[in-house]
């Protein structure tokens, strides 16, 4: 598509317009997906609690998220008089933007990626490390004590879990031999004896897949690690002072991040757009459908955990991050690199 536009509109402008359109092609369905995934989350959660969940607006309550969106849109934006106005308004925008920009490097199929850069995984790490700013700024700019506590918790939590996520990503990169996400997906093709697609099927990498899944929950502040918005202690955490659209942006950003983490789990460990088994008839189904099925499967796990696991205590969270995951993933990096050294490069 970029080439087509460049033929008609010249190199620079054609590239610019094509990229803009591609961004919209990703971002708009993503917003729709976020709306539907919020509905799915509530339905799954309700089913686990033997309730019906949203069932009034539209058939099976399908339009509930849109009704909520409209309601929030029509509310008044309230800015506390003691708040730091500029930062108070920028904070939700940062959260929302960061949740969107990371999707630029996620491959939806062979060649279906907006930015096929060779440091794709580092870009994801960089973008996800920016996510914490929206929360810290929201907490600080609100000038209120509970949001501030929440911001402090969020900062410590996200920085802690990023360390073990980094090590997990290193094991994947070691095995795939590239930082490019499309390259990582292709490296998983026929991973075990040419039968299954996905690093997660490898017994040496499966523990890392589990560590990554749990760290992803901590990184997105989903239950059981949702200490930043623990309602029994902190009202609503960093969102306490927010209303109307500024609150909605946090909401959308949060679910955008959850979806992104599900997509990353699928892409890094479970073969991304490839079917789970390397068998020709399965390739008839388009890759993007496989990716969506995997993303939804992980989202179901996220919802499941949210519905069933009680919230961690803060010191337990820190213990898990620093005393369990960090040493474990560090040792695993040694193990994987040692194994690869022996098998791939000779002793």
């Amino acid at each position: 598509m970029t080439a087509l536009f460049q033929d008609y509109l010249g190199y620079g402008f054609g590239w610019f317009l094509a990229t803009l359109i591609l961004i919209l092609i990703i971002a708009l369905p993503l917003m729709l997906a976020v709306a539907m995934i919020i509905y799915a989350d509530r339905k799954i959660w309700a089913a686990m609690a033997l309730r019906k969940g949203p069932n009034v607006v539209g058939p099976f309550g399908l339009l509930q998220s849109f009704a909520d969106g409209l309601k929030v849109f029509l509310q008044e934006t309230i800015i506390p008089s003691a708040a730091n106005r500029g930062l108070f308004l920028i904070a939700p925008i940062i959260t929302f933007t960061v949740a969107l920009i990371t999707w630029a490097v996620i491959p939806f199929g062979a060649g279906m990626v907006l930015a096929d850069i060779n440091v794709g995984l580092l870009y994801i790490l960089a973008a996800s490390s920016l996510g914490v700013y929206g929360i810290i700024l929201a907490g600080w700019a609100s000038n209120s004590k509970y949001p501030f506590f929440s911001a402090i918790r969020a900062a410590a939590q996200m920085v802690s879990y990023e360390v073990s996520i980094g090590f997990v990503l290193i094991t994947v990169v070691l095995w795939a031999g590239t930082f490019n996400l499309s390259g990582i997906v292709l490296a998983q093709k026929g991973h075990i004896l040419g039968l299954v697609n996905g690093f997660g099927f490898n017994p040496l990498l499966f523990p890392m897949a589990v560590v990554f899944l749990i760290s992803a929950m901590a990184e997105t502040q989903r239950a059981p690690f949702d200490l930043t918005e623990a309602e029994s202690e902190l009202v609503a955490g960093y969102q306490t002072e927010y209303s109307s659209m500024s609150f909605a942006l946090f909401w959308l950003g949060e679910y955008g991040n959850v979806l992104l983490m599900c997509a990353l789990n699928a892409t890094l460990f479970w073969g991304g757009w490839l079917p789970p088994i390397d068998w020709a008839p399965l390739y008839v189904v388009p890759g993007i459908i496989w990716l969506f099925i995997k993303i939804f499967a992980f989202f179901f796990i996220f919802s499941w955990v949210k519905a069933t696991v009680p919230r961690y205590r803060y010191d337990q969270l820190m213990r898990l991050g620093w005393k369990v995951f960090l040493p474990f993933s560090l040792i695993w990096v040694f193990l994987v690199s040692g194994y690869l050294m022996l098998t791939r490069y000779g002793a």
């Binding site: 620079g12 610019f16 930062l87 850069i117 060779n118 440091v119 580092l122 870009y123 790490l125 960089a126 490390s129 920016l130 914490v132 700013y133 810290i136 700024l137 600080w140 501030f148 911001a151 402090i152 900062a155 410590a156 996200m158 920085v159 990023e162 930082f179 010191d315 213990r319």
Partner: protein, 203 residues
């Protein structure tokens, strides 16, 4: 065209954000301007084709260092009057450092312009067709392996030093031993006795 626009955008924003870091009244705003400066510096790195350095700059400085910085600054109770009183006293010293830096920059650029620093004579000429992660890896893990490991050792020592200096072993705290808690079975804690009525319990 778009590269030129991007360069001037990033360059102007780096300088503006740097200036605002110094002049901002609120220390939290200062840190945020500093973060913007880091970010735009990463943009400049991208423009010269050093995408690995750019990403590292964002991950390490923006994602970790500046977060902790912000964390500390947010919790500090800073007295602005005291800060301004110090300004006049440290001004000559600051100007001196600035003058030295300026002179060094002029010398460096002058020496570069004068020629004689052929790029091929540098320690490791970067191959242009390799992604720069590969290029850096090939240099760091072969030619500069010992220097690289020494740098890692220095960081390790610094880390242990920081932990030793700040660690306070407080007596009388009862820390939780999770393994022991998980190993504990009902039999260890609970005893069912068929107690005859009217007799005391022996513990």
């Amino acid at each position: 065209m778009i590269q030129t626009i991007a360069f001037y955008l990033f360059a102007i924003l780096v300088i503006a954000a740097g200036a605002l870091t110094v002049t901002a009244r609120n220390p939290v705003h200062s840190v945020l301007w500093l973060i913007l400066a880091f970010f735009n510096a990463a943009g400049l790195m991208l423009l010269v084709g050093a995408e690995f350095i750019a990403m590292l700059l964002v991950i390490v400085y923006v994602g970790a260092v500046a977060v902790l910085f912000l964390f500390v600054v947010m919790m500090l109770d800073i007295d602005f009057a005291e800060l301004r009183a110090g300004f006049a006293r440290y001004l000559p010293f600051g100007l001196m450092v600035a003058a030295v830096l300026l002179a060094e920059m002029i010398f460096a650029v002058g020496a570069w312009q004068a020629g004689g620093l052929a790029l091929t004579q540098r320690a490791g000429p970067a191959p242009s067709d390799l992604p720069n992660i590969h290029a850096m890896g090939a240099l760091l893990y072969t030619r500069y392996l010992y220097v690289f490991e020494a740098a890692g050792l220095v960081l390790l020592v610094a880390m242990i030093g920081a932990i030793v200096l700040t660690h306070r072993g407080r007596a009388g705290t009862r820390s939780q031993n999770i393994t022991r808690q998980n190993m504990r079975r009902p039999e260890d804690a609970v005893r069912n006795v068929n107690q005859p009525v009217g007799e005391g319990v022996e513990l």
